[in-house]
């Protein structure tokens, strides 16, 4: 409940408060309601985790791109057309056999919007933000991801304007898959680090 407090009463109250604020600001000439529509449409339909999945899939098939992504993720990702707000400074962090990465923002909700869209509620909520720096293995196991003690778990706390994109390992059994087929295996959680890329359907 507290994790995502959407009681009916909050809903009604917030609907009224936000409507009042939008009305006032519109009447004052400070905002354009159509601009809000445009922003909402952008994050509902254009900017989301399919962007990130395309980046990951390309990194799996294109060694030059992969090297560029390691060297300067902001530029490499921009070369695919993904730029802007909450993606101004990107760093890609690569999982491996003995290295797992997971991203958090303990202080607010920093998240790489350009490649993942808007963050899910759990990512922005106190349980995840408080626990994952103290007990990442336990949190990951609750996501169904149990890692051996030989795997180093690195938690990236996004305390500045650098945004982190996890590059999961390419699943076995995907030889010959093209980028589009590979991108379908790249879940949003695998790019936060709370999951792995999907195994291909047998």
């Amino acid at each position: 409940m507290h994790d995502h407090p959407h009681h009916g009463s909050e809903l009604d109250e917030m609907t009224a408060r936000v409507k009042a604020l939008e009305t006032i600001l519109t009447e004052k000439g400070l905002i354009d309601p159509a601009a809000i529509d445009e922003i909402v449409e952008t994050y509902e339909t254009k900017v989301g985790p399919r962007n990130g999945a395309a980046v990951v899939a390309r990194a799996w098939v294109d060694p030059d791109f992969c090297a560029a992504l390691k060297e300067d993720a902001t530029a490499a990702i921009a070369s695919m057309g993904f730029t802007g707000r909450q993606g101004e400074h990107m760093q890609a962090v690569f999982n491996g056999k003995t290295q797992h990465n997971v991203v958090v923002c303990t202080l607010c909700s920093c998240y790489p919007w350009t490649v993942l869209g808007l963050p899910p509620v759990w990512y922005k909520s106190p349980p995840y933000r408080s626990r994952v720096v103290l007990e990442p293995r336990k949190v990951l196991s609750e996501f169904g991801l149990t890692l051996g003690d030989d795997v180093e778990v690195t938690v990236w706390d996004s305390t500045a304007e650098v945004r982190y994109l996890v590059i999961p390992e390419r699943p076995a059994g995907t030889d010959g898959f093209d980028s589009a087929a590979l991108a379908d295996l790249v879940t949003r959680d695998s790019m936060i680090g709370t999951g792995l890329a999907l195994e291909p359907a047998p």
Partner: protein
């Protein structure tokens, strides 16, 4: 300030609970809240640091008891009042009682795509050399500033290693309070789990965070 937002290592919030369907928005007012916040940012009164500080300055009961976009709207309203663009009387009546001051800066719908695609980079050029280099051992500051800071409580006083030098970025402790951008070298610091949590750390875990040079001293 180590306000309600400074959550790393705290306890008592219960399990992580992903939603069944994970909608991007849960109600129309959440959509409008996101849009209002971005549009009002374009008025130029505050940057992202002041905006974060307004949210983390909410009373803990409000911060922990409100959903995400409710926190945004409460903080946005406080910022608009502080800068004289909205009055309590207007909020009470639900109507504008005076024209806006910066209506010239209104973000037009046609400009949205460009504004979002451009973003607001935080890196700035300065000539001062970096005090630390890759591999340096550093201690994170014990300072407990009363205003905005981006050094989480759990990392204060702890020792880590510089694993990346990012360049010089806007210093949030200054920018949040209208003291200019004061660009400062930014580093990634790697801290062993055992350095943070002693023997209660999970095996083979590390935390990396980004820290400005003023948060660091040689160790």
């Amino acid at each position: 300030m180590m306000g309600p937002h400074d959550l790393g290592g705290r306890a008592g919030f219960g399990p992580v609970l992903p939603e069944e369907d994970e909608p991007i928005f849960h109600a129309d007012w959440e959509k409008r809240a996101l849009g209002l916040t971005l549009c009002c940012g374009a008025l130029g009164y505050w940057g992202i640091d002041a905006s974060r500080h307004a949210r983390e300055s909410l009373h803990p009961v409000t911060y922990y008891g409100s959903s995400y976009y409710a926190i945004w709207i409460t903080a946005l309203t406080a910022l608009l009042i502080r800068h004289g663009e909205v009055s309590e009387a207007e909020l009470a009546s639900g109507k504008a009682l005076a024209p806006g001051k910066r209506s010239d800066s209104k973000m037009q719908a046609a400009a949205v795509a460009d504004v979002l695609a451009k973003g607001a980079p935080a890196d700035r050029d300065i000539t001062a050399p970096a005090a630390f280099a890759m591999g340096d051992r550093v201690r994170l500051s014990k300072l407990s500033p009363r205003g905005h800071t981006r050094l989480p409580g759990y990392a204060r006083g702890k020792i880590g290693v510089v694993t990346k030098v990012h360049g010089t970025h806007v210093f949030p402790d200054a920018a949040a309070h209208g003291q200019g951008e004061q660009p400062t070298w930014l580093y990634t610091i790697s801290i062993a789990g055992t350095e943070l949590w002693g023997a209660t750390a999970e095996p083979c875990t590390t935390v990396r965070l980004d820290a400005w040079e003023r948060y660091l001293e040689p160790a």
